[in-house]
């Protein structure tokens, strides 16, 4: 019996074979996404002030990797697109970049950028809930908020 190089998906006859499908649009690169982020950061009419500030924080995290501040560029779908949806899609793509980045440390660098973007999304969706959550995180991070800490004097005389 001759080899059959390609077997169509008989389970789902509505799925066209590979050569019959339309080519999909190429995914934006990380650099293009960052440029759109720089553009979104300036869109205070559509996004809240705090949301754009978290986008700014994400870009600052990016610049802390030694990268230049990206040049702002509109998304390919135009300036009238749903800004929040554009932000969500960029964040989802950043997750995909982060999970395959090398070396391992690079993944966490990108994850820090993504975390700020995630916070921006959440801020736009539910600013009140985010404010409470961040306050709880801050209390957890700064245990001395209950009162100024007593100075710690090291044996060599240094004061921390």
């Amino acid at each position: 019996m001759p080899d059959i190089p390609f077997l169509p998906d008989t389970d789902d006859p509505t799925v066209p074979s590979a050569d019959q499908r339309w080519p999909t649009d190429p995914q934006p690169t990380l650099a293009q996404d960052l440029s759109v982020l720089a553009w979104l950061e300036t869109r205070r009419e559509q996004l809240s002030s705090d949301c754009t500030d978290f986008i700014c924080a994400a870009l600052l995290e990016w610049s802390m990797l030694g990268e230049l501040w990206p040049d702002p560029a509109e998304p390919s779908v135009g300036p009238d697109c749903d800004h929040l949806e554009a932000l969500v899609q960029i964040t989802e793509r950043l997750v995909r970049h982060a999970v395959v980045a090398q070396p391992t440390a690079r993944r966490f660098e990108l994850a820090r950028v993504g975390r700020e973007l995630g916070t921006a999304i959440r801020c736009q969706r539910d600013p009140q809930a985010l404010a409470e959550s961040r306050w709880r995180e801050l209390v957890g991070r700064q245990p001395w908020l209950a009162g100024p800490p007593a100075p710690v004097v090291l044996p060599d005389g240094r004061v921390l």
Binding site: S35, T42, L59, S63, A105, F108, G118, L138, P148, V152
Partner: protein
């Protein structure tokens, strides 16, 4: 790719995804018990793996963490901090799913993936004790990166179980464990290890990163991991630096916020014509939000501190001016100053903490407490004019040197195609250097 690298790869991928998805606020957990079991698996396995790398004695009580350990034995200190971090749920009360459950959310599946990866690494616990030094350092750094993410992951989990807790479900104990104070020590120690042990180089040579360029060199191969934590990393970085050279000093600097701000202002001045757009953004954020936070503190302390109300009003006006700077668009030819960006973030975090502390004070706060709280805020306020002036001067120098340019628009559709014109001839100059 060997199995160690594969499992570590899976663990890092899952952790990265959790860090981002957790910030977006995942859907309600479908099976919180399974997530807690996965989280505990990650914690316990990390503890074992790091204990092996640091050559921590087995079957011995982990001693209390000391400042000396953090400074001189960071690898072992990391093991100690993880040992002090409790399980979210008691051992045996929740089971980890063996197979991937498609009914779970992506966030929960990522937790399962992370747990499976760490369990896969368990086979290397014994091997790690005999790892060659160079490999041990890389393994330590990779595992430290994952350990450093744990406080964030735990915070996200605590937020995920909070709605159940509010509904009266029995999630009080896991919530307390996930917000355990042991996370603070983990943050400090993992930060210490990450500052001293360099990350692996990117696989391609074209990856450029000044941040990596400032990393210390790898410790020599004559150092075993346990000893190297004493001699290698500490002599490679940090200890030889004069503290006065630092742009800002970490969280403890809140008591000397004015001093930290002064050093930061000098750093902004020193950038001069090399000031980048990212630097401007960082300073602007600090001026806006730092002023707002300091104003909040001073308004709270106003009854006990003469002049605090006036200072608060001035700070709010500064914040409004800094807010307008967001509209100033510019491009720069220079790379951002990594340490300046980190200092902006640190200082902003400190002012945020101050504001939080002011919000926590009760109405019965004594005048002495109010004055103590207002002191760093006043110190910050005193430095704001100098910082704004330094920013103004540096922006003007950068514009004059044409290292920073303001785009002139040639197309209404795209700023990408805009040409660059001389900023000194543009009205935007005044705005950007306001």
């Amino acid at each position: 790719m060997n199995t160690w690298a594969r499992h570590l790869d899976d663990l890092a991928a899952a952790t990265s995804q959790l860090l981002i998805d957790g910030a977006v606020q995942p859907q309600p957990l479908a099976d919180p018990d399974a997530v807690m079991a996965a989280r505990d698996a990650v914690l316990v396995q990390l503890r074992q793996l790091l204990g092996s790398i640091g050559d921590a004695p087995r079957f011995a009580t982990v001693r209390e963490l000391t400042l000396h350990d953090v400074v001189h034995r960071p690898a072992q200190a990391l093991h100690q901090t993880l040992s002090k971090l409790p399980r979210a749920v008691p051992f045996g009360t929740a089971e980890l799913g063996a197979a991937e459950d498609k009914t779970l959310t992506a966030y929960e599946r990522a937790w399962q993936q992370a747990a499976r990866a760490t369990i896969g690494l368990e086979a290397y616990v014994e091997v790690l004790r005999e790892l060659p030094d160079s490999h041990a350092w890389l393994a330590l750094r990779d595992l430290t990166d994952v350990a450093a993410a744990l406080p964030y992951l735990d915070h996200d989990l605590s937020e995920a179980v909070l709605p159940r807790l509010k509904l009266g479900e029995d999630w009080g104990l896991p919530y307390r464990m996930l917000t355990h104070p042991g996370h603070d020590a983990l943050r400090v120690v993992s930060g210490e290890v990450r500052a001293r042990v360099p990350a692996a180089e990117p696989p391609t040579s074209d990856a450029r990163s000044p941040a990596r360029g400032q990393q210390p060199v790898h410790p020599s191969s004559s150092q075993v991991p346990g000893q190297a934590a004493v001699t290698g990393p500490s002599s490679a970085r940090g200890d030889r630096r004069d503290p006065s050279d630092r742009v800002a000093d970490g969280p403890h600097a809140v008591r000397d916020l004015a001093g930290a701000m002064t050093r930061y202002t000098h750093a902004v001045s020193a950038r001069g014509a090399n000031l980048s757009v990212a630097d401007v953004k960082g300073v602007r954020r600090l001026l806006e939000y730092g002023s707002l936070h300091a104003a909040t503190v001073l308004e709270r302390a106003a009854p006990a501190v003469p002049g605090a109300a006036e200072a608060a009003r001035a700070l709010r006006a500064t914040a409004a001016s800094a807010d307008r700077l967001r509209e100033a668009h510019a491009r720069s030819m220079t790379a951002p100053h990594v340490e300046l960006a980190a200092a902006s973030k640190d200082l902003l975090g400190q002012t945020t903490a101050l504001a939080g502390q002011a919000a926590q004070l009760t109405d019965r706060a004594t005048p002495q407490e109010l004055r103590r709280l207002a002191a760093p805020a006043l110190g910050f306020a005193q430095c704001v004019p100098a910082l704004a002036g330094a920013l103004d001067l540096s922006v003007r120098e950068a514009l004059a040197a044409r290292l920073m340019l303001v785009p002139g628009t040639t197309s209404e559709r795209s700023t990408n195609t805009s040409s660059l014109c001389r900023a000194t001839a543009s009205p935007s100059d005044e705005r950007s250097s306001d």
